[in-house]
């Protein structure tokens, strides 16, 4: 009996169902969810390319999202830069390769650490906010009110948030990379008294345009995932106040999981073209 079968058997017993019925229910729900998400994403692209465009609301959302996560990104990125440098220094010094420290840190920060830290923070801050906001609007019939007054709520609420998240994530990642490298410099400077100019030169020499471009594409994909997951969870949340909590929770958990999946896929893809 494999792990999946044991789990399904256990859950079936908890819910007083036979395993076949439970498996059928789980599979049906999963398939319905996949179909609904596909429909939701198709609807997003249809509405996103069709005018009128909601530029003002997109900018408002970009500003709100950036503002909401800036402090946390600054704090965590700076600490991550310090910690990663401090952790890497003993390994490199045992080979007499301390001078490679800026190069190692900058590649790690630009390729993975920066986008991932920013993505995870934004999944928590932006994703949960979108899920909870749209969920409470759904519960209190505000989305229905927009629908019946012909004000195109999908375009106003979903398209704007997803585009804003897709646009703001690359900007936040560039900022996060800069702050993490500053943190790294502080640590490097405490080991070796190297100048900022030397550190910056080594960082610039070790990062390729492909690294930067791939990092930006990856962070845009992270933003899109966070926006879509949060919007879907909120827009189709269950009725009642528990639905709002569930929407916020789903938005965070699902988007965080997808961030790692996207990171892995991008890594494989980049290894192929490098």
């Amino acid at each position: 009996m494999n792990l999946l079968s044991i789990t399904l058997n256990f859950l079936a017993q908890v819910f007083l169902l036979d395993q076949k019925t439970y498996t059928y229910m789980v599979l049906t729900k999963a398939l319905i969810d996949v179909a609904n998400i596909y429909k939701f994403i198709s609807e997003f692209f249809k509405k996103a390319i069709r005018p009128p465009y909601e530029w003002r609301e997109i900018l408002n959302q970009c500003f709100a999202m950036g503002n909401r996560s800036l402090f946390l990104i600054t704090f965590t990125s700076f600490l991550a830069g310090i910690v990663f440098t401090k952790q890497s220094e003993p390994s490199l010094s045992s080979f007499g390769a301390e001078s490679w420290l800026p190069s190692l840190v900058s590649q790690a920060v630009v390729r993975t650490l920066g986008p991932l830290i920013t993505g995870l923070i934004c999944a928590g801050k932006i994703g949960s906010n979108i899920g909870a906001e749209l969920g409470s609007m759904k519960v209190t019939e505000q989305i229905d009110a927009m629908e019946v007054s012909g004000t195109r709520p999908f375009a106003y609420l979903v398209v704007t948030r997803v585009i804003a998240a897709t646009l703001i994530l690359p900007i936040l990642v560039i900022y996060s990379d800069g702050v993490a490298l500053m943190g790294s410099f502080v640590m490097v400077n405490s080991f070796s008294d190297s100048s900022f100019l030397l550190f910056a030169n080594e960082v610039a020499a070790s990062i390729s345009y492909l690294d930067i471009f791939a990092s930006l594409i990856k962070s845009a994909l992270f933003g899109f995932t966070i926006g879509i997951t949060g919007s879907y969870a909120g827009y189709y949340s269950d009725e009642g106040t528990t639905g709002v909590g569930k929407a916020a929770n789903t938005a965070v958990v699902v988007s965080m999981t997808f961030l790692f999946v996207i990171d892995l896929i991008m890594l494989q893809f980049l290894n192929l073209i490098r």
Binding site: M137, E141, Q142, A145, S149, G150, T151
Partner: protein, 258 residues
């Protein structure tokens, strides 16, 4: 299900005085049949009360009328539009002519009252001129006696005030039909009576036809020209308040004598 090629053609098939015609409407959620063979007509400038117990399918009925829910079977004609078969643009056209006042007011809580009222004007009518917007918003708020709340947030208002502003937000688009979902639910008797008066004023000033969904007998008494009783999802009895009160129907008697 009967379909019509265009709203204009459909208009011709509609009885002259009826603005809404519902025939054999059926709607289920899973195994549970919520609406079962509902038939209903709404005449021009008439206040029609749909009376029924909680869970009898009243709200589902008006949500089907504006395509928030899709019926399983039956015909719904609103202002000549055959609702279940409308294209998105036709549906939008219809929705601009139908005002919907929600049970919980459904005011956009992140916006001030001004923004709440400006929102449909900007997005539907493309009005962005601040002077004109201000004038229209204040006029609509004066109609419901709440012009002083214009820069407040919905969270700062009482339940009765929210209901009035919800009504003002729908009236700002000058609808031909008003749908009120439980307009007096959760309100004290005095505020309920004020809302009932407002419903009558709206009919007289805007010449709207209205469907008022309620389980509140005093609301039905005060606002109705005619009542349809919805019992277990079926439109069983129709008539004036006094006719229904005198009816021998067992379920209805129980309702009126409570």
């Amino acid at each position: 299900m009967e379909t019509t090629s265009s709203p204009l053609e459909a208009k011709k098939t509609l009885g002259v005085a009826n603005v809404v015609e519902i025939r054999n409407l059926q709607k289920s959620f899973g195994e549970r049949k919520v609406l079962n063979n509902v038939n209903l007509d709404l005449r021009a400038q008439e206040n029609l009360v749909v009376l029924g117990r909680s869970g009898s399918g009243k709200s589902v009925l008006i949500k089907c009328m504006v395509a928030l829910l899709k019926p399983d079977e039956g015909t719904i004609k609103v202002l000549g539009y055959n609702v279940p078969s409308l294209s998105p643009s036709e549906l939008n056209e219809l929705r601009l002519q139908v005002g919907f006042s929600f049970q919980g007011s459904a005011l956009y809580d992140s916006m001030t009252i001004r923004k709440n009222l400006e929102f449909p004007l900007m997005r539907n009518l493309g009005i962005y001129d601040t002077v004109k917007l201000n004038e229209m918003v204040l006029t609509a708020l004066e109609e419901v006696g709440l012009a002083h709340t214009v820069d407040q947030l919905p969270s700062e208002l009482s339940g009765g005030m929210k209901k009035r502003i919800g009504i003002a937000r729908t009236l700002i688009l000058k609808p031909k039909i008003m749908l009120y979902d439980e307009p007096t639910a959760g309100l004290d008797p005095v505020t309920s009576s004020e809302i009932n008066d407002l419903i009558l004023q709206v009919r007289d000033r805007y010449h709207t036809a209205s469907i008022i969904i309620t389980h509140d007998i005093s609301c039905a008494h005060q606002t109705s020209d005619r009542i349809v009783a919805l019992i277990e999802g079926e439109s069983k009895v129709q008539g004036t308040f006094d006719e229904l009160k005198a009816s021998n129907d067992k379920d209805l008697k129980h309702f009126f004598n409570y």
